[in-house]
């Protein structure tokens, strides 16, 4: 990979000894960072390391308590996000916020559309300007298409185009790849390289270390709000980076124990939901972790939802320990010993406004009951038990889960379901968007559960995770199960071939 040698000139944007506190908590302590034109710079750190605060400082959302923000070498003070935007700084968030009913072009030029006489919007000019932006990014998207129905990847492209339309010179990308598939990531990186060659400075945040090494030239690491290092990635290994982030040597990321699978716990037979997935059959045995791989949209999540009873199936059947599950009835699936840790923890896994204790308690509404009333003591000790077992970091058990970091929220979702003592656990993207330390903990937990005889079905778009954790890999492509690959034969190539439909069924 070639990098333009542009690190000679002055940084376009720099932070110098920035500190920021919230109450008694020092979120950032003397953090410095330099962004050069034509360079992609990684920001690494665990959840809670201060990455968010740093981004928000750059974006003008927070004002630093001490230290300077330098734009082209000149100290500046941003009084709000508008100031930062006018200075050419744009932030692309993980989940873009477009107006779904407006077209791509209208979204990009919202509030500042080119005008014709009498103040009428010049649709032609808007269309042309959008087309030009898309060409600059090397992407084909119809400017007149409504934002509704765009994939997250396409929505991010629109956000990037919008940023360019503001003449952004500094692009901050906050975990842009968290919800993207492999090919979408490749396209995004193509766009990022194009921007880099056009002289933009890009600050890139990702929990996927391989991506950092793939696209970035330098990396700045934060830990507990403090600056740890800024250095070239050339010559570093992933382990080096993890050590800087975590501050110690990390336990193995994929601590998979060998198991002898027991009898079949979950049996899915010819399950079909019209237009979504077709003729899906598989077994998961006690003690086994079965990986379910495939591209986003292949129907993996939909199968999990149907098995658990969130959606109804049109044909087929599901058995748990030899007993048939009722179609479309999560409560009976739960009672039979099935648990589903859903893909979207904020909308599906947790009630964000509810306390940690009560969120975990929601799966115990049948069990922590005495004489028809909630047994609050039992509810609390059940929640505390699991929160302690999973080492959730929290202040008070009565705090709302919204106050926790992403990784700890995910642990609460796991706690909520492990508290039901499931026989079969389905986890959908169990480590998406959580830091590498927590990720290793979740993997160890899954491995231990399997060793204890739980049957685990793990849906993941993270290939190394599938390869590292699964005893067997099932692959879905366009609503059908296209391959079943034993652990010994599973490679990135074999799984991707089946996921993209290139392999014979």
């Amino acid at each position: 990979m070639t990098h333009p040698s542009t690190t000679g000139p002055a940084p376009v944007l720099a932070l110098r000894d920035i500190s920021k506190s919230f109450g008694a908590v020092r979120a950032l302590r003397d953090v410095s960072l330099e962004l050069f034109p034509g360079e992609v710079h990684a920001l690494a750190g665990e959840n809670g390391a201060g990455k968010s605060t740093l981004i928000k400082t750059l974006a003008g959302v927070h004002r630093p308590d001490a230290g300077q923000v330098l734009l082209d070498g000149q100290p500046v003070v941003f009084h709000g996000p508008g100031d930062a935007r006018d200075a050419g700084i744009a932030v692309i968030y993980q989940e873009p916020t477009l107006f779904p009913d407006l077209s791509i072009a209208e979204n990009i030029f919202m509030g500042r559309q080119p005008r014709r006489a009498l103040g009428r919007i010049d649709h032609k000019a808007t269309h042309a300007a959008t087309l030009a932006l898309m060409q600059r990014l090397g992407v084909e998207l119809d400017p007149d298409r409504p934002a509704r129905g765009l994939s997250i990847a396409d929505q991010q492209i629109v956000e990037i185009a919008k940023a360019l339309s503001f003449d952004a010179r500094v692009l901050i990308m906050d975990e842009p790849t968290a919800a993207l598939t492999g090919s979408e990531v490749a396209r995004l990186f193509g766009v990022v390289r194009t921007l880099r060659e056009q002289g933009a400075a890009v600050l890139f945040i990702s929990h996927r270390l391989e991506e950092i090494f793939q696209i970035c030239r330098r990396v700045t690491t934060l830990r507990d709000g403090a600056w740890i290092s800024s250095e070239l990635l050339d010559g570093m290994t992933e382990d080096d980076l993890v050590r800087r982030m975590v501050g110690r040597d990390l336990d193995e990321l994929y601590p998979k124990q060998d198991v002898n699978p027991g009898e079949v716990a979950l049996s899915v037979r010819r399950l079909t939901r019209e237009g979504v997935f077709t003729d899906v059959s598989f077994d998961v045995r006690r003690g086994e972790i079965v990986g379910l791989a495939g591209l986003v949209g292949a129907g993996r999540t939909e199968v999990a939802r149907a098995v658990f009873g969130i959606d109804r199936w049109d044909a087929g059947e599901v058995e748990l320990d030899g007993r048939k599950l009722i179609n479309g009835a999560p409560s009976t699936a739960m009672a039979a010993g099935l648990a589903l840790v859903p893909e979207d923890r904020r909308a599906q896994g947790l009630v964000m406004d509810m306390s940690i204790e009560r969120n975990i308690g929601l799966t115990g509404l049948r069990t922590t009951v005495k004489a028809g009333l909630m047994d609050r003591g039992a509810e609390r000790s059940r929640s505390l038990d699991w929160v302690v077992k999973l080492q959730v970091k929290y202040a008070r058990i009565a705090d709302t889960v919204g106050t926790l970091s992403g990784g700890n929220q995910q642990k609460v979702v796991l706690a909520k379901w492990l508290a039901t003592r499931p026989k079969v656990l389905i986890v959908d993207e169990p480590t998406r968007g959580i830091d590498v330390g927590t990720k290793a903990e979740v993997h160890r937990l899954l491995s231990e559960l399997a060793a204890d005889g739980v049957a685990v079905l793990m849906i993941s778009s993270d290939l190394p995770e599938i390869l590292g954790m699964a005893d067997r890999v099932l692959v879905m492509h366009e609503g059908r199960l296209t391959a079943e690959i034993p652990r010994s034969d599973a490679t990135e190539e074999s799984v991707m071939a089946a996921a993209t439909g290139r392999a014979a069924a």
């Binding site: 809670g48 989940e95 009630v351 964000m352 406004d353 970091k393 926790l404 700890n408």
Partner: protein
């Protein structure tokens, strides 16, 4: 251990305090307020609102609403009058009316849960429909000649005290509702449904069934209220209790039940009901004009939506200072 709940400014406590202040001020400064007869009037006139507020609170906590309650009450009264004119005994009529209320609530619930329609729209429709049926059933007649022991029970008070007879069964119902909402798995599931229906579904909560139960209970309580109304005022007319739904919803919101669901306490809601009731009583005693009374009620309704938000923002700001100790990274939070 100071819990976050007790540290926060709780709106239901504020409303309870306001009620007590209003009562104390009225006892001291408003002529005719403190005598037992007036107080029994105050309670008796507020009971219809309070009765419907019980299921309405549960409904709003779960994120739904029922605007047809007053029409259901009116329909019950009308059917009661019509059947009485037919010569049926009141002991037969009352169960029939209650059953009718169950049917009315069931229709609302099925339209909401089976067809997935928004309850606001459904119950605006049935608000008109049920009232229309009431008018067909009874026309413009007014039935007043119900058996005196029933009229006495609905309008009378215990001896010379300020307590209406009907207040006692209400207290029993209140206790049941408080326990149901705040101490049972059913109540717990309602808070989850109101705060995030999707997350509730993923936790195995039978969202549609719970809602159907709630709408049905609401219909039942509305018809009970309709029966009480007709007996209390000794008049069954098709237009009984018209507009009562707004008073109920105003009181429930004033009591701190979040219109978006998932938050509030039944104690707050009932404090809101009696705060409105007491205010109206005082204004009547002071010869405040009807228009002004409506104006005051309207302003209170706006304040009731505003107040809890302000209170919550204060507590969130306080909690925010604490929560910063568990720094949240990576939060493209949709709020803020």
């Amino acid at each position: 251990m100071p819990e976050s709940l007790t540290r926060a400014v709780r709106w239901d406590t504020v409303v309870g305090a306001l009620l007590i202040v209003l009562l104390l001020l009225s006892f001291s400064f408003v002529d005719g307020f403190g005598n037992a007869l007036n107080l029994s009037f105050l309670i008796g006139n507020t009971l219809p609102i309070a009765l419907i507020a019980l299921p309405m609170t549960l409904l709003v906590v779960s994120g739904e609403i029922d605007l047809s309650v007053a029409s259901t009450a009116g329909l019950s009264g009308a059917v009661m009058g019509a059947l009485w004119n037919q010569g049926m005994t009141i002991e037969t009529i009352i169960p029939i009316c209650l059953l009718l209320g169950v049917v009315c609530g069931l229709i609302n619930g099925l339209l909401v849960t089976k067809l997935g329609l928004p309850s606001l729209a459904v119950t605006i429709g049935t608000l008109a429909a049920y009232r229309g049926v009431a008018q067909i059933v009874l026309g413009s007649d007014a039935v007043t000649d119900f058996p005196s022991q029933y009229l006495d029970f609905a309008a009378g008070r215990i001896g010379d005290t300020f307590i209406p007879y009907a207040f006692l069964p209400f207290l029993v119902l209140l206790a049941i509702a408080v326990v149901a909402l705040h101490a049972t798995p059913f109540g717990r599931s309602l808070f989850a449904i109101g705060a995030s229906e999707e997350a509730a579904r993923f936790a195995g909560i039978r969202v549609k069934r719970q809602k159907l139960i709630l709408f049905t209970l609401t219909g039942l309580m509305a018809s009970l209220t309709g029966i009480f109304w007709a007996l209390h005022y000794a008049s069954a007319r098709y237009d009984n209790a018209t507009g009562l739904e707004l008073a109920v919803i105003a009181a429930v919101l004033l009591g701190g039940i979040d219109f978006d669901g998932g938050k509030g306490t039944l104690g707050g809601a009932i404090a809101g009901v009696f705060l409105l009731g007491a205010l109206q009583n005082v204004m009547s005693l002071q010869d405040v004009s009807a228009q002004t009374q409506i104006l005051v009620t309207g302003v209170l309704l706006v304040l009731s939506v505003l107040g809890p938000r302000v209170a919550r923002q204060i507590s969130v700001a306080r909690a925010g200072r604490r929560a910063a100790s568990a720094p949240v990274s990576k939060a493209p939070s949709p709020t803020s």
